[in-house]
């Protein structure tokens, strides 16, 4: 499915095409560090992370947050999102597979309200997101 340039039709209850990301590797984490500029060693330096009592490195929230944002953009169009809120509710570790889901909670005055989540294979929700986006009128 291609990223839409025009507003898409959205109606309450519509679901985002389900997406899966991962298994997330240390290489994925390092690639995002370089692309996005987050060089906190806790995310790439295993001895440093272990010295803090952690099992190892973990993903920066903006890796999974940005991945969820790309799925949102692929659904409603990157140029039609008006607001986007991410709450980081859990950590993501190498080997994790994330299920990314979203639904339309309502549409009013041409603006759709969306809720999205990312969930680990353990069932832990690691991201809770909301967004609003300009929508085309729903097909009737």
């Amino acid at each position: 499915m291609s990223t839409p340039s025009a507003p898409v039709a959205l109606a309450a209850g519509d679901a985002m095409p389900a997406a899966s990301v991962g298994p997330i590797t240390r290489t994925d984490i390092v690639r995002y560090a370089g692309a996005g500029g987050d060089f906190n060693p806790i995310h790439h330096d295993e001895p440093f992370a272990v010295s803090l009592g952690l099992p190892g490195v973990f993903a920066m929230g903006m890796l999974q947050g940005g991945a969820l944002a790309q799925r949102l953009a692929a659904w409603v169009g990157p140029e039609h999102v008006r607001t986007f809120n991410l709450r980081f509710t859990g950590q993501v570790w190498p080997g994790d597979v994330l299920a990314i889901e979203g639904t339309v909670s309502g549409v009013a005055d041409g603006i759709a309200q969306l809720t999205l989540t990312a969930t680990r294979q353990t069932g832990d929700v690691v991201l809770k997101a909301t967004a609003s986006a300009t929508a085309a009128p729903a097909d009737s």
Partner: protein, 151 residues
């Protein structure tokens, strides 16, 4: 260590031009292989005026800032080993475009201390950043909540 004395403090980010190669690199690092983010022809064929810009591209503006994406946290003396990102919000005034030269002004909106459930004092810092284009218009408002866990 961030304290309530930091509320109102402003941190400037130098200008950063949204660069096409960084857009493609960022999209790919976020597991998005859609060619519209790296191939102008594909983008135009899909109806975009140019490469679309990822929703979280505000992170790119940290590249010219001292301390990069962690510059604000470092300026406030937060311990990177205890730092968690609690929440992030974006209000898009208009879509960002490749070629936009953005400057950001971050204001410390709030600093609160809480006793952590596992002992130690947790510090919550709320940062608000306004991004302006070369014409001086606000194009994006961003809010971040940073959490420094108790020692």
């Amino acid at each position: 260590m961030a304290t309530t004395d930091d509320i109102g403090r402003e941190l400037e980010r130098p200008s950063f031009r949204i660069d096409p190669s960084k857009v493609g690199e960022l999209a790919r690092s976020l597991f998005d292989e859609d060619p519209v983010y790296r191939d102008e022809e594909a983008a135009r064929a899909a109806g975009f005026a140019g490469l679309p810009v990822p929703l979280t591209a505000s992170t790119l503006t940290s590249f010219n800032a001292e301390g990069g994406a962690l510059g604000a946290a470092a300026a406030l003396g937060l311990d990177l080993g205890r730092l968690l990102h609690g929440e992030a919000s974006w209000e898009y005034v208009r879509p960002l475009r490749v070629g936009d030269a953005l400057t950001g002004t971050t204001t410390v909106l709030d600093v609160t201390k809480k006793e952590g459930s596992r002992g130690g004092t947790m510090t919550l810092v709320v940062l608000g950043t306004e991004f302006r284009d070369a014409g001086g218009d606000v194009v994006l408002r961003k809010t971040d909540t940073l959490i420094e866990r108790g020692a």
